[in-house]
Amino acid sequence: MKNLIVAASCALALIAGGAQAQEPSLRIAFDVPYEPFEYKDENGELTGFEVELAEAMCEEINANCEFVIQAWDGMIPGLLARKFDLIMSSMSITPERAERVLFSEPYYNTPGGWFGPESFNTDVTDMGAMKDKTVGVQRGTTMDTYVTENMGGIVTIKRYTTADDMVLDLEGQRLDVVFVDYPVGEQTILPKEGFKEVAEPVKLGKGVGVAMRKRDTDLAGEINAALRTLKEDGTYDTLMQKYFAYDIKM
């Protein structure tokens, strides 16, 4: 009996030792669908600009990565609760978020785009003309902050959890115009008949960074180094050209 316990302890120690020797493992969270950054292709495989960038980054830091799907609302709580270790889901760097999480250097920045029906001819910067229009935004995004701060009280703001719901309401004529991350609008609204871009895109915020827990400063160093390498060795540019017709590099 004693021998058995010794043998079992040895086996356990071996397993534990083996696990330690393995590559560090990282769980990375995405909110899908958010085309073309992260979405599921026809085969149900997770893909997109950020997913491929995450794969390249993991290779660069020799990490064993696992991808996790997480709804946007629960992103930061999930990170803090250790359900995953990194967020690479187009999270713009804001002071409020930086209170809770640690951001890497920004790895891209896309403008916010105004999209609406063909019949929409109002100048969105003219507050008099925009009065009582209904504007759709995704809750908690930099576009939400921009509209709330600049047009709050003038327009009616409708906040949505997902871009899909917002586009449905734009099609159903419940919204006059939406202000959404440019690539998302380009992919989901412009292909539909009867919709167009109604104003110039607006540059917002400090760009998008990888979010992690505040204590993971060593990891942040590794990730920043990896992102820098990818931006310099052409991997980033190849990926960007695959998904975008314009420059989002930062």
Binding site: P77, R139, G140, K158, R159, D169, Q173
Partner: protein, 240 residues
């Protein structure tokens, strides 16, 4: 004590006068929505419950189907179907209906009303069929016709038996109204979600809103206890 509250209000970033106002507006919307759907739901449920007890299956059948459908599917799905489904009907945007259904308030009111009416119908029906036979026979012996029996005997005694179950339905409806926020209504939950997404402080935003719901529930429980005491006072033991 007020000093302590003032100090606490000054120290935290989240509960400023502005966010308190957002919660207040949310509270008004929640109460407005729940109150209207409950009142309309109850007004609809009483005649439906009577029809549901009629022996003729062509009369009671459709009511049975309606309560079966609305009790058999989640309220969230009903809300999605009414809110997004209505907007997909070809040409509805050109009719006067769109004036009503463009705003999220009325689709939500419709979904909540139909849902609570279905449950209330079954609650009232259950109370009606459990009317003691003796009471009905006595009423018949007095020569009361069907209408008079309903009005004087069946409905008043059913109301007494239904009130406890109905108070549960009212509280469930209050809590179920939290899903109104998924169709862009800024009710209490919607306000909490907006504030949470601005400050990333889930505990503060949601615990505060939970306390608001609890306060509303307390008021409802208190009101229903008063009502029960009033309706069921004949059942109390004679005080000594």
């Amino acid at each position: 004590m007020p000093d302590f509250i003032a100090e606490w209000l000054n120290q935290n970033e989240i509960f400023t006068a502005m966010t308190i106002m957002e919660y207040w507006d949310g509270l008004v919307t929640t109460v407005h929505l729940v109150f209207l759907s409950l009142v309309i739901g109850l007004l609809v449920a009483v005649p439906l419950a009577i029809l549901r007890t009629v022996r003729n299956p062509f009369v009671s059948g459709p009511v049975w189907l309606y309560t079966y459908l609305f009790r058999g599917t989640p309220l969230l799905i009903q809300l999605y179907i009414i809110y997004y489904g209505l907007a997909q009907i070809e040409g509805i945007q050109e009719t006067f209906w769109w004036e009503i259904f463009r705003e999220p308030f009325y689709p939500a009111l419709l979904a909540f009303t139909l849902n609570t009416a279905a449950y209330t119908t079954e609650i009232i029906r259950g109370a009606m069929v459990s009317t003691p036979n003796g009471e009905i026979e006595a009423a018949k012996a007095y020569g009361m016709n069907w209408l008079m029996r309903m009005r004087r005997i069946v409905l008043p005694s059913a109301a007494r038996r239904a009130v406890q179950a109905y108070s549960n339905e009212v509280i469930f409806m209050l809590h179920a109204s939290a899903i109104a926020s998924v169709v862009t209504i800024v009710d209490l939950t919607g306000a909490a979600r907006n504030i949470y997404s601005r400050f990333y402080a889930p505990f503060d935003a949601f615990i505060f809103v939970a306390l608001c719901y609890m306060m509303l529930t307390f008021i409802l429980v208190f009101a229903f206890r008063r009502l029960e005491n009033h309706l069921l006072r004949h059942q109390r033991p004679v005080s000594g």
